[in-house]
Homo-oligomer: 252 residues x 2
Amino acid sequence: MTAPLANDGDQGELQPCTHSYQVNCGNCRLNSICLPLALESDDIDQLDSIIQRSKPLQKNQHLYRESDEFQSVYAVRSGTLKAYKTTDDGREQVTGFYFPGEILGMDGISNNTHASSAKALETSAICEIPFNSLEQLSSAMPSLQRHFFQLMSREITEDQQLITLLSKNSADERVAALMLSISTRNARRKLSATQFRLPMSRVDIGNYLGLTVETVSRVFSRMQKLHILRVDNKEIEILDTDSLKGMANIGE
Amino acid sequence: MTAPLANDGDQGELQPCTHSYQVNCGNCRLNSICLPLALESDDIDQLDSIIQRSKPLQKNQHLYRESDEFQSVYAVRSGTLKAYKTTDDGREQVTGFYFPGEILGMDGISNNTHASSAKALETSAICEIPFNSLEQLSSAMPSLQRHFFQLMSREITEDQQLITLLSKNSADERVAALMLSISTRNARRKLSATQFRLPMSRVDIGNYLGLTVETVSRVFSRMQKLHILRVDNKEIEILDTDSLKGMANIGE
DNA sequence: GCGCGGCCTTGACTCAGGTCAAGGTGTTCT
DNA sequence: AGAACACCTTGACCTGAGTCAAGGCCGCGC
C-alpha cells in the first residue's frame, strides 16, 4: 500500500486536487458509499491497484460518449456528472445524475458499447475501474462479485423508481421527489440534507423529469410561495421536509 | 450431456407440459436467447444442475411479490409475466413484460428483497435459478459471470429506453414502440413478427406506457384507421411495419 | 339460452403542462 | 466597466391526454 501523502487523505470532494492523485480506496472518505462491503484490507488494496485516477474533468467535458467502446466503469470522487442519451431525432434524455461515491457506466456492459454519454456538470474527479480487471478480481473475490451484482441491481431499481415517477406523478411530485433524492444523497455523504447547491441547470432537471424548463421554474416558485423551499437560483434550502415529502407522495 | 428425452426437446412455449419437467438447458430451444454465450456443454450441464423447474404458474398467480425475500432469478420458458410495483398510494406501475427466454427478478439482488411483484398473464412455465448457486458457479465460470453482468446491464439499458419513451414521446409513439418491441421479441423466438396475440390487457399496456386505457384504445383505433395495424381485440396484425416505425419515431 | 361481469371502445368535456413570447439576472470575456 | 450570452422566471394561450359517462362485446356460470 502506498502511504497517503500528507494532504490528500481527506481531500474529499470540495477542492479536487489538481497536483496529485495519491488518493486510495483505503483512505477515501467515500468508501463507505462506494464500497459498502466490509472488504478485508488486503482486498481493498487489490481493488485499489486496478483503479486508475486521472486528472479531473472540467465542466462540460465528457467522461464517455454514447457508442464509445466500453472499457471501464467509473466512480465519482468529487463533482457531479449527468448521463444522457440522444434520441434519433436529436433530442436529449437525461437518465441520471451522479454524485460523489456513486458509480456510472454500467449500462455499457451489455454491448461492449456505452449506451449513454456522461458529461461533467462541474469540475469532477473520477476513479476509473477497468472492467476486465474488475471481472477477474470478482471471480477471485466473491464479496466483490456480489457487490457489483448489487450495484447493478440498485441501478435497475432506481431506474424503475424513475419510470414510476414519470408515468404516474405530477410535475410537483416529480420535482419534490428529485429534491428529496438529492437531500438524501447529500446526507449519506455527511453534508447538509436541507441546504445545497444544485449542480445542474433547470433544463437538465426538466429533461430528467420529463418536464419543460418553464414548468420546473413554476414548480420552484410555487414551492417557495408555500414556504416549502427557499430557492435562490441554484441554492436550495428545504424549509419544510414533511410538506416536501407530502408533496412528493412517494416512498423514499 | 444428457440425451434429450423423446417428447420434450421441442416442447416449447405453446403447450406447457404439465406432466413432466424433463426439459434441460441443453435441449431447450430457447437457450440461444436465454444463454447467448457459447457455453461449453460441460458448463451447460453444470448450470442445468442448479436450475429448478416446478409446475407451471396459472394465470394471475404470482411468481414473487414485492418485499418477498430474494432467493432466485427466473427464466420464462413459456407464457408471459408482468412485473409491477405498487406505489405508496396503492396504484400499480407495470415495469415490464417478460416473454419466453427472458430473465426476471434481478431487481431483487440489491436488497435481498424483491423490488417488484411478478404475476403470470397466462399459464406460464418457469425455470428458477437460485442466486446463491448462480454466484458460486459464476465465480468458477468467467463466461457465466460475464453473461450475468450483461443481462443486468441489458435490463438497465431497456429501462432507460422506457424512461426516454415515457418522458419524451406521445401516446402514439409509445404504443407503436411497444408493438415493435413485441414484434422483435417474437421474431427472436422464430415466431411471426407481424401477427401475434397480446397476452396483456389494455389496462396493463396503458399502465406500462403511462397512459389511460381510453387513450390506448383510441391509439389502436387510429392506427387501424390508418391501415398500420389490424386490431381484433387482442389479436394484432402489423400491416405496415415502416409506417409503424415512423410512428414510433425511435431507434429499435 | 340468458344474465352477469370483465374488458374494450367511443364521445364530450376539462385541465395540467407545453408552447410562445418577453423580460430579468448572473457570469464571463474583453 | 460593459457587452454578450446563458440561464431563469413569468404571463397568456393552446392542446394532448385524462376524466367521466355510456354503451358494446365476449366469455362464463347457471
